[in-house]
Amino acid sequence: MSQQRKAVALISGGLDSLLAARAIMEQGVHVEGLNFFTGFCVEGHTHAIRKKDKQKPKRNNALWVAEQLGIKLHIIDVIEPYKDVLLNPKHGYGANLNPCLDCKCFMVGKALQWMREHDFDFIITGEVVGQRPKSQRKETMPIVQEESGAGDLLVRPLCAKKLPPTLPEREGWIDREKLFEFSGRSRKPQFALAEEYGFKDYATPAGGCCFLTDENYSRKLADMWQARSDRDYELDDIMLLKVGRHIRPRPHFKLIVGREEGENKFLEGYRKRFVHLRSVSHTGPLVLIDGKATEDDLNLAAQITARFGHGKNAEQVEIEANYMDGSSRLLQVKPLSADEMQTEWYI
């Protein structure tokens, strides 16, 4: 009896990785899933923060995919090692701060490491030649194999017939003839295969799976690096970029203004780490000050805070400024008018 081979599948939560894993399972291979959490993954976060989204059904699509497939899923925290990928991408960025090719090399490399540690035989991804992003171009696919170190242990079942045979195909662990030759941006072949396999209700994220592909998010990240003269970051930094309005009235500080109750609650968790402001005479948002604000700056910050509360048309609003040492003081300010809020302050 031949040995049952084991493959580890990169599971993003999208349709392609679901189909790729299933195609290999169809050939009797034992498959387990890996999902890497970089801190920039779209899954879950803003749903968890904003109150208006709380009634929507929430699910982690990678877990959902694993459950549909009936496989184990290992979610790996790669926040720290991912910093080097983002900060020093050998192949550069895409349209925004998305280092897609370096990211794919990194993830396949991590999967290779996991594969070796757990005595698995090969790696599966849902890549399709010619599909976005940059890492799936025909000329970049060999780069992923080479730079990740996976070489021909990397199988892309959805477009395998468009690529040279890999070791699992040559050795007969899997039958190349039962793999696919999808290419290009059309999603029709994937939808047809999903139907054949009986998958419904799968995720089709319009903006990809990563915040770094988002123009607004990338702008906030670049602004943070520029203001700090340092391109490093912590998980809390990148979480806060997903929350609230970000307003930089002066180069040395910005305000993070909660937009609704859920965001205010989330920002409350950071009260001990930031000077923060809140209107006490009217209802209004919680506002964190990121940076070092002088006394004059604090007054301006209070006026902006008042602008976003129910007292925005009042003659005077009382704002409580809370310091990190637990002390506080009250400021009486006139809210800034709409005209005084400069467009370029909004990040």
Binding site: N35, F37, C41, E43, G44, H45, H47, A48, I49, K54, P57, K58, R59, N60, A62, L63, W64, A66, E67, I71, K72, L73, H74, I75, I76, D77, M239, K265, G269
Partner: protein
């Protein structure tokens, strides 16, 4: 019972912390996870179903979610 404080963490971090805790425990041991992200109410039970662990209880108290799970034998 092992206690895991996953408050203020957003999914999937509560799942990752749960996974890392469970990986150090023997079958039959229990973990009490306290979270504030409502996504954990779906994600932790889903992770348990996939990986062969058992959810003993889930409850919500104000803004906190408490999930008790029992470590399975890995099958």
């Amino acid at each position: 019972m092992v206690y895991l404080d996953a408050r203020r963490l957003l999914c999937p971090m509560p799942v990752i912390r749960t996974q890392d805790t469970v990986n150090k425990l023997a079958p039959g041991e229990q973990v009490e996870i306290v979270c504030t992200d409502p996504g954990a109410l779906n994600d932790i039970p889903a992770w348990c179903r996939i990986n062969g662990h058992k959810v003993i209880n889930t409850q919500q108290q104000d803004d906190e979610i408490i999930i008790i799970i029992e470590v399975g034998d890995g099958t």
